[in-house]
Subunit: 437 residues, 4 copies
């Protein structure tokens, strides 16, 4: 069996915060108990097959810069086989428990739809074997409905019914693959489900189509007995000029409108949050407020740039705040932290993949430790609880129980006069976070 | 009676496109029939009391620059009286059929809540008289829950129950005023209904509070028999770092979640759309797709700037596209085009108010004429209809009727092979719009 | 000889504003005299070889969607030959007087540098022949120092001296090709001349390197007797996270610092302007204020998107304002309007290339007509001239002549008191522009 | 003497990282030696008079929320006197060595220019006395040329010569005040030196005016013997739609063009950097690359918002990177870290001012400690040095010495072939920074 990462001969180990070894974990100690579970269980790290294995370093102005040893066969299926072995070698060397894929990442498109399906089945069989050998699990599978030219005007929202049918057929087979591999979730990201210009678009009709598409997916899920969760992944734009799944609030509104809320959770990506004008923490908060946080694409964008840079997450503030929201919502059930991130185009070596994942895993491990400590200490939460305490009793509680009215409240105002001004103490709370770092 | 605009001695008249008179309409011909109604009825122009009458030219870095003759009494109530006369003089000279106000625009805050209410009643009585004399109508009224320090942390979402009560009491009286003046609509814009930092915020609780606040408003509306529509106005941020009514899709989702959808429509502001990362046309389209377009704040932002510049709308493309969406949705029922816009700080003279309104009215009048022509000619709509035609019959129609499945569609794919690629013709359609200008 | 555009059998003609023929010019009437020159001479339209001929419709999330008949040989040099014939056929059918290219657009990279040079020479010979046959001219040539992986960390700013040498060698040959083809200008666009992260970057050193690179280009220009102009093209980022040629002001500052100002002008791209936080008009104004406007990449971005969308320009406001700046600076000398623009990914047909160019040419033709009328009428310019008139005589003139001082001016202030406030009349002037459309 | 901050009875002390006391320093230990100087000398913290003393919590949508005890006299001059005492009390309690002011912060505008000057002189005398008593020093003074309506269209770039004269007279007196108080620097921030619309603007003329204005300031500086530095402060926009001092590169280019480079350095503000599309680190790097870093306005913006939020800096990454640039450039000479920052509008209490300053001082103290450690350890700098090493000898060195040419380098390419690809190791370097936190 080939060894695709000979430069890393053994499994990456935890060596503690004082280690100077760039190829060791300083904070991620998989079996350490934090907040009642192991770090491994709290974080559920996952490898993103497309970026880590299939990324080439290409960008819109230049060709690929990475020369991956598993992509040198001049034969797509041989490359696909090498790649799946490389994936599990990499996963094992890092000790990552999960991975995620699109159908076309793991197996190439064939000449016909039938051939594409066969390609997929063949690689799925190898992946299943390797999952068994390594104990690795599938966090989610999905269908790539954005790369092939046929999906230029969308998959589930394509104005052409035949292309819509292709999207359905492709999702059907990707769901079958996910079921076969015991996937925890099945994901929908609609990169082409949107519009380029409203001039040629019937917006309401495309929304209806998308709902029909997702309802058929729900029907099929029931038919095949897939027990995993369905997830939608918000993104505001790119590649489309406008994407229908703009942000968490938009997606939740869509699900409510079309009676789909019971069947879906959200997969929140940090970089998509910032492209939509939100913080990562905000999008997580919106999802958890509705009990709909499914999973997370853990990465970071460049605030100076207006596109999805999908960088590996190394910002402690983001990781702390994200883990606070996640822990307070009860932690992940089916979801995890999937590294939907790619090394920079100039980080051309396979060793850069190790640096990138180690840094990201340590960042979130540290984020978990700090978030857990902030929550345990309780100072921050007490402040917030106290802030809303006037709604816990008296006329405040009546308001929340639906037992008040404008007339009642006007009387209270007339009797009591101007309310007291209370400081929100933002600066003090920001300092508090820094004290934990 | 004072004459506050002596520099414009008579009503602004329509003189046609060739007029060189800057103080004449070139396109707005109020009684001309376009699309089955008069221009006046199609456009329902409205003056924004706060900017046009109360605007001072102040910005965050500098003091007011306008010296309005109606604000020189050194007595807030005398100023308020002068202002209402100035407003109706201005409205009459321009031939604008509607106006909009916040309670605190038309009457000053008093020492006590009771005094504030009395101030409001007094000015409302004058406004009612002047409405009668001039035939002007109230498009909507609203309560200012953002300027006074007590609302720093929100009105309906304030963590303090007493402040929440103030918000309710204030809205109650603003609704009474709107009823008295025969307002077509009552508006909610939540500039402080959001958060500065999630560190001190219970997001879910504030959402629940906001829903309670709005439900009580609905109850009160029923109680007093107000027949106008309720409207929410989306804005993503400013003044708050995040506002809950981020954009149309977010607001519609919120209304669905909290069973408020039947009671509200949206007031779409162009500059708020662009701050949220959308086009004006997009936000109008989202609202109309749900049958929820209430009214429009017609202005324009500066695409280079990240705050609400509220400029007078002079961009024909925006006006054409907006009027196309509005006309295709059946035109305004209770709503109109309210000029939530202010002259630049350096446009210091009252004559600049005339230039600004005349230009904006002509822009939308021209937008209406062109939009009506494009719709009548039908070329654009035919293109779009044809684009979706495969869903009008056969397996496409079955999909939309809910009579299809992934299995059925996979069979169709296997039998038919690759779909045809069809151009979206964006460039041709953009050229088409230019041909109408 | 092949006919690559059989769907357009004859040269596109001017049919006037009332024509409904989408494949006719409504405003571009090449020989009409406007502002003392023909439209053709005022506008100097140019085809962008890379987008129009070599564009595939690929984006970062998906494969190419166009199937161009000139790119079907499975042999890069045969494709290159077909492409040059297709280019001149297209140019001729549209009546475009100029074209622009990167070395690697017109001829493929070979196995060795020497082979790349031979490929280039071969195609240049064909292009020269076709220029002669059609009367088409080369607006500018340039070297592609961004697509090949070797330039990942830059060309002239690469930290590796050998890669720097490659950049120099490649530019040398591209300059030779440009000289051979009688190019009016030679262009530098530094897509990789910037940084991804300051952590691994010596900023000052890279600036010095870039200056050395450009000085050697100047030396070589003199050596070979190239009489055309050199141009730098500002862009703030993309592909690099930060590009050194951020905007016009930055580039002019760099040229001054390194004694290069005499040798360079600017090539201003509309979409690069907006990505840098400026308007197109602003960047043109900055360039002309220093007498340094060389040429223009005429396109438009999507204000909702944070990357270079390179759309065909169809916005009349942009075109009018651009042409006003250009006409007032005396019009183009060596430069022109190059359509650095691509049809949308979904505009998949060759006919879309015609729609796109026709619409863009008409937009700028109309912009020229309106700009010329506004300038001739003189109302706008008179307003501006009057606004600064206090500097034309008296103590104002002394200030501008360098004959004043703080002491003198303080005395004037003490004697005269508060200055008068004068309105800037922005709204009136915006209305004025609309009157010309 | 009044005690304006009774809630903080003694000087804030250093208690170390484990302290839980929110009103103690955890990292700022003024006399600790770091990088060869005391922390106090390395950081040169400065209080911003306008925000800390004169800030009211007002924003564009709402009135002030702070009730400062020193602003309750209903008499501008009495307020001004109280304020200067409050300032020095606050400075002393925090142990901040410097402060900065605008003329109109410390003393109110009078009825006439002469009265304004007298007001200023009177307060300057008190400030001078208090400086002597407390050992506090003036980092810089400046003139407010943006708040008064007369400067609506600019100060040094005003189209009206009389207003230009006012700007000069006001700067003259502000320079006199700065000289009297022994200011280290005199600052120019041109909030109104820009344009709202190019339609009414002669851009080139305004640039010339600005240069004349600054040359007269240089003349006056020489005349009065002011030995401090002059500084310009870049900002891209706000309040103006476009400001001429857009960013560091633009300002340096302007200074070069108008022969002003010898007389000016830059005052870099973090939030202005991000508004211009740059990082704070970038702007500092550009300034230091030209030896022109003067001083720093230490704050932070909100990346989700498009205006200057001027928040207190609590982000460690920003502080570390800033201190690395500053230390490597040799540290501050005349400059320092001025907290041009304001508590949020909802942070209404004077105690919030303490939280805000303590957190910011600790953030930069920690940034200094970490930056110093990274530099001392040398790993990062060695990586960068090695990266450029091919330019230190051989043909690379010849390039930098100006001894090479395109011909020479082409030969080297032909002889050597393709360069090696070297990874930029961005992820490894980002991990390295995290290891120091």
């Amino acid at each position: 069996m080939k060894n695709f990462f000979p430069e890393v001969r053994q499994v990456i180990r935890y060596e503690g915060a004082d280690s100077k070894n760039p190829l060791a974990f300083k904070y991620y100690d998989a079996d350490r108990i934090v907040g009642g579970k192991t770090m491994k269980e709290q974080l559920n790290f996952s490898l993103a097959y497309w970026h880590t294995l299939k990324g080439t370093g290409a960008d819109i102005f230049g060709a690929g810069t990475y020369k991956r040893p598993w992509l040198q066969n001049n034969d797509p299926m041989k490359d696909a086989e090498d790649t799946v072995y490389a994936a599990f070698e990499f996963i094992s060397k890092l000790g990552i428990p999960y991975y995620c894929f699109h159908d076309r990442d793991i197996a190439p498109e064939g000449e016909t739809f039938a051939e594409s399906c066969k390609n997929l089945e063949k690689i799925v069989a190898i992946a299943k074997k390797l999952q068994g050998e390594t104990g690795t699990r599938l966090l989610w599978g999905t269908a790539n409905l954005f790369s092939h030219p046929r999906y230029t005007h969308g998959g589930g929202t394509n104005p052409d019914a035949m292309t819509f049918a292709w999207a359905c057929a492709q999702v059907k087979n990707a769901m079958d693959a996910t079921l076969t591999l015991g996937g925890e979730n099945y994901l929908f990201w609609g990169g082409r489900e949107g519009y380029e210009t409203l001039l040629n678009t019937n917006y309401g009709r495309e929304q209806d189509q998308l709902a029909r598409f997702l309802h058929m997916a729900v029907d099929y899920k029931k038919k095949i007995g897939f027990k995993g969760l369905f997830m939608l992944e918000p993104k505001p734009h790119e590649p489309s000029a406008h994407q229908y799944d703009f942000d968490s609030a938009t997606v939740l509104g869509f699900l409510r409108k079309y009676d789909l809320l019971d069947y879906f959770r959200l997969n929140i990506e940090a970089n998509h949050a910032t492209l939509a004008g939100h913080t990562f923490e905000h999008e997580l908060t919106v999802a958890t407020a509705d009990g709909k946080l499914g999973s997370v694409d853990a990465n970071i964008g460049n605030p100076q740039l207006g596109w999805d840079t999908d960088q590996f997450p190394t910002n402690l503030y983001d990781a702390i705040k994200a883990m606070m929201v996640i822990l307070k919502s009860g932690g992940f059930t089916n979801g995890g932290l999937n590294f939907d991130a790619k090394p920079r185009r100039g980080s051309t070596d396979t060793i850069d993949l190790f640096h990138a994942h180690i840094g990201a895993m340590d960042t979130f491990a540290r984020g978990l430790l700090i978030a857990d400590k902030i929550i345990s200490d309780g100072e921050l939460d007490s402040f917030v609880k106290e802030r809303y305490s006037t709604f816990d009793s008296g006329f405040g509680a009546d308001i929340m129980k639906g037992k008040s009215s404008f007339d009642i409240l006007e009387k209270i105002v007339l009797e009591n006069g101007e309310p007291d001004m209370k400081s929100g103490r933002q600066e003090m709370l920001e300092n508090l976070i820094n004290q934990y770092i």
